[in-house]
């Protein structure tokens, strides 16, 4: 039995960012106690399971404060059987205190993910980030001071008025602060968000400019010594996000808290986007079939090999599949090597099309 990943969704934020459509509500101290006990209760069913990653995402986990978080992590460690775990907490620089990292480090947190988004304060403001970039710099120093070296920064690409120069400044900020991991996401405007409502008024880079920004980001980050291992993720060797890799490798995980998704025993299920004392998981069908595996694996730079699908699904790449793959290869969107196919950076940018066109031919 493989070790699984544990995800805890912390649905509180100081304020809602205009681009974000993850489930969160304004931080309310009176709700925290109920929330924590509800999460712990829903974990009981899985007591004793072996796990090797624990990930606090949100929302803004850091708004819970060092005490609440460390107490929760202690309880988690009683419930699950953690085997040399990677324990990540997403933090918003504005709710980071030196005390926070001390508390987190004391219960075994060894990875911090910080939402930088941009190192340019005017760009940060447009994204609804409350603090300036110095606050981020301080948070990184504080985390490191407490022995947490594995730090990831989030960057956003294709935001309002972003230029090659402003992007360069943001990437340089990450490199100067010697972080081990960078996630660089292209902004996607979701209908349900504030940006979705004012979509037409946003001065966003067009398709070509956005792609140029992406290519530039890849280039600068890699020049800084991190390598790209997923469409939007870069790391120093050995510092890839073990938890997120479970998603992309189509491995199993359990998610707790409102809106959290799980994949366990071949089934997908999730909790509703609301607070409940005793939440009941909502079934979301079977998971882990070939088409899912294929779709997820192609997000990774290493791609997918025929051996893998032969072993896992007893299937091989069909002639029509290879023919199509070679067509994409001729457009420099994809690489074929030793019966392994992987996407190039240009291919990542059009991965939806490539995946859907290849998947039907599998």
């Amino acid at each position: 039995m493989n070790n699984i990943g544990i995800y805890v969704h912390v649905p509180f934020c100081e304020s809602k960012c205009p681009y974000c459509d993850f489930y969160s509500v304004r931080y309310d101290n009176s709700q925290v106690k109920n929330y924590i006990s509800s999460v712990l209760r829903s974990m009981e069913k899985y007591r004793g399971l072996s796990a090797d990653t624990l990930y606090f995402g949100g929302g803004t986990p850091s708004v819970l404060g060092g005490h609440n978080l460390s107490e929760m992590i202690k309880k988690n460690r009683e419930i699950f059987n953690f085997v040399s775990p990677e324990i990540t907490v997403e933090c918003n620089p504005s709710s980071c205190t030196p005390d926070l990292f001390e508390k987190l480090a004391s219960v075994g947190v060894n990875r911090i993910s910080l939402g930088l988004q941009s190192a340019n304060d005017d760009e940060r403001r447009k994204l609804g980030r409350l603090s300036d970039s110095n606050k981020v710099r301080q948070a990184i120093l504080d985390a490191k001071k407490n022995g947490i070296e594995n730090i990831s920064l989030d960057l956003m690409l294709g935001i309002e008025n972003q230029t090659e120069d402003s992007l360069k400044k943001s990437v340089e900020f990450c490199l100067e602060n010697e972080v081990k991991h960078i996630s660089a996401y292209i902004l996607k405007i979701e209908d349900s968000t504030h940006f979705g409502k004012i979509r037409d008024k946003l001065n966003l880079p067009d398709e070509d400019e956005t792609c140029d920004l992406y290519m530039t980001a890849c280039e600068l980050i890699e020049a800084g010594g991190l390598y790209q291992y997923e469409i939007s993720n870069f790391a120093q060797k050995g510092f890839e996000s073990r938890h997120n890799l479970k998603y992309w490798n189509c491995e199993e995980y359990l998610g707790f808290g409102p809106s959290a998704h799980s994949f366990h025993d071949g089934k997908r299920f999730y909790f509703d986007r609301k607070f409940e004392d005793n939440p009941v998981a909502i079934p979301d069908g079977d998971g882990g079939d070939l088409s899912e595996f294929f779709m997820l694996k192609l997000r990774l730079s290493q791609g997918i090999s025929e051996d893998e699908i032969l072993k896992k699904y007893n299937r091989s790449f069909s002639d029509s599949f290879m023919k199509k793959a070679r067509q994409f290869e001729s457009y420099s969107l994809l690489k074929i090597k030793d019966k392994t196919i992987s996407l190039t950076k240009e291919g990542f940018l059009v991965s939806n099309t490539i995946i859907s066109e290849l998947e039907v031919l599998l």
């Binding site: 998603y247 998704h261 457009y331 490539i354 859907s356």
Partner: protein, 602 residues
């Protein structure tokens, strides 16, 4: 027992679209108690949904009314409704010939329009008594005196005593009925002559076969008689005949000279009972048919293809069924490299085309792709032979062409005089040759142009309407074929010719049109995985080009935590979108791109 001839009045109604013909007809039905008020749906005569929506009459209809006049006598009034659009000119003429008189309805605020005038002349030419009626006097903008003057000046009809009515409110409508009796003559008809009945409409009914609408000119027809169609020679037994009432058919023993009614006889298709043909007796045939029959020929052709190739059979069935009811619609199978299996269809005009297309899509639930409409060109080859082509695909190698001819029209545009400039610009742009211009009144003109038919089948009417804020009306007749410098344009996507997008055009317009098409295609074909050149060519020569850049971004940057299902759904949606595209060689083209090329806006 037949009605004495002197108590019969056969009449039709001439009106411009929106001038209130159907409302007038409804009032007449109501006043003669032909329908109970509660049964009135607005505009009873137009019983096809499409007609009601477009506010126009596509097929003719007839209805028999009983009216007790002020002189105390009981009259039979036969109202023969006529189609109101230029595409159906011939049907109009046959409906008029079936009558002794016509009501000319003129809108008290708008005055005389092109279509009204054309049909009024048609009526006068056929010796009909025309009774002007000034309608919509309830409108604030109504100016009945000005309009009456206009009718007198333009048509030369005495109009001072014309009834001023409002069909909407019912005001003065009783006077209209009196005028029908007093002003329109009774038919001159003789029951003893050999039978001659004019077909002014025929409609397919799935239970009775074709229902033939006739005006009996001479003689008598009885149930059980064998009738003969004089143009086609087809013979049928009369199964049923009678009168059309507002409430439905009313079977009778016989139809006599001067009367209007319907006949059924297990006739399988309307092409066996064509509009304009003469019904006679098979046993005692008349020596001469009634004058004026001609077979209507389609003037505009286009390819009609199912969007989904699997619907080919359904499309054929649908066309077959529509043709049962529409002798002017023609179709034959054709194959396109780009669109697969479909049909080349022929129509009377662009409206006819649009109506058929809409009916196929609505009534038969078909998703269609149509190609650019074409007229029939005459291509004179160097060896002296002549080709008639309505499909650009059949355009011969230019090296073998001596010269080409295209159909011309005599076109009249009626509009307020302030629009003369913009209308002349439009006609000039459409290769029109100015003939003359008459002032109908102080501020309304009749502009007469010679226009090539292929210039008016695309979007001429739409352009005219938008340039004149809807005030212009338009009428045309086809006159002759004339020598013309034509060329065939081909569209190439990624180097492959898309046959369905080829078309024939006058040399002077080739460059402009080519540029516009290239731009439209660029706008409507989404970026794909590779760069796509769009080229427009005459022969081997490229005269316009655009490039669709390769798609660069189609990615879900973030994987939504563990919500894999959401990502799967997004990819599924993407596949659905692909299904609506057509594959041309390596290029996928959405149907909107075809439509966009069809409707090149000014």
């Amino acid at each position: 027992m037949s009605v004495p001839k002197e108590l019969i009045r056969n009449f039709s109604i001439i009106a411009h679209i929106d001038h209130g013909k159907s409302t007038i007809a409804d009032r007449l039905l109501e006043l003669t108690k032909s329908v109970a008020h509660r049964d009135m749906t607005a505009q009873l005569l137009d019983n096809m949904d499409l007609e009601r929506e477009r506010g126009i009459t596509i097929k003719s209809h007839a209805v028999k009314l009983n009216y007790k006049a002020n002189d105390g006598k009981e009259y039979v009034l036969n109202l023969i409704d006529t189609p109101g659009h230029v595409d159906f000119n011939y049907e109009v003429s046959r409906s008029l010939v079936a009558c002794e008189g016509a009501l000319l309805i003129v809108d008290a605020s708008q005055g005389v329009e092109a279509q009204t005038l054309a049909n009024t002349y048609l009526a006068i030419d056929n010796d009909l008594e025309v009774v002007p009626i000034i309608n919509k006097i309830d409108l604030p903008a109504a100016d009945p005196e000005r309009v009456a003057n206009e009718v007198e000046e333009v048509i030369g009809l005495e109009c001072m005593s014309a009834p001023r009515v409002s069909a909407k409110t019912g005001e003065n409508m009783a006077e209209v009925l009196e005028r029908i009796v007093t002003d329109i003559p009774a038919p001159v008809a003789d029951d003893t002559l050999p039978l001659r009945a004019l077909i002014f409409d025929s409609v397919y009914d799935s239970y009775k076969g074709v229902i033939v609408y006739v005006r009996v000119k001479d003689g008598v027809l009885k149930t059980g008689d064998t009738m003969k169609m004089m143009a086609t020679g087809a013979e049928f037994n009369v199964v049923e005949l009678g009168y059309m009432r507002a409430s439905g058919p009313e079977p009778a023993e016989m139809l006599c000279a001067g009367e209007v009614g319907y006949i059924t006889g297990s006739i399988k298709t309307v092409s066996d009972a064509r509009v304009g043909d003469t019904v006679t007796s098979a046993t005692h045939p008349a020596s001469e048919p009634l004058p004026g029959y001609r077979k209507v020929n389609p003037m505009v052709f286009c390819g009609v293809y199912p969007a989904d190739g699997a619907d080919y059979e359904s499309l054929r069935d649908a066309l077959e069924r529509l043709q049962l009811n529409d002798a002017a619609l023609s179709y034959e199978p054709e194959t396109s490299g780009a669109l697969g299996f479909g049909f080349r269809c022929g129509f009377l005009g662009l409206l006819h085309l649009e109506i058929i297309q809409e009916r196929l899509e609505r009534e038969y639930d078909l998703d269609l792709v149509t190609t650019i409409p074409s007229v029939v060109y005459r291509i004179h080859l160097s060896d002296g032979s002549v080709l008639e082509i309505d499909n650009p695909t059949h355009y011969p190698d230019p090296a073998n062409i001596d010269f080409c001819e295209e159909p011309m029209t005599n076109s009249h545009i009626y509009a307020p005089s302030q629009y003369v400039g913009t209308i002349m610009d439009l006609c000039q742009d459409r290769r029109g040759v100015f003939k003359d211009m008459k002032y109908i009144t102080e501020d309304r003109v009749d502009i007469h142009y010679e226009l090539p038919l292929n210039e008016i089948i695309y979007d001429f009417f739409d352009s005219l309407k938008s340039r004149t804020k809807g005030y212009a009306s338009f009428d045309y007749e086809i006159t002759e074929y004339r020598r013309s410098n034509l060329q065939k344009l081909d569209v190439l996507l990624n180097g492959d010719t898309i046959d369905a997008l080829s078309f024939i055009i006058h040399a002077d317009k080739a460059y402009g049109r080519a540029r516009k098409i290239a731009e439209k295609l660029k706008e409507h074909i989404p970026r794909q995985m590779f760069e796509i050149p769009i080229q427009i060519a005459i022969g081997g020569k490229i005269i316009a080009r655009e490039t669709i850049k390769a798609m660069r971004k189609d990615v879900l940057a973030k994987c939504y935590g563990g919500d894999i299902t959401r990502k799967k759904k997004l990819l599924e949606k993407q596949k659905e979108g692909k299904k609506r595209m057509r594959q041309f060689g390596s290029v996928e083209v959405p149907q909107e791109a075809f439509m966009a090329v069809l409707k090149l806006d000014e």
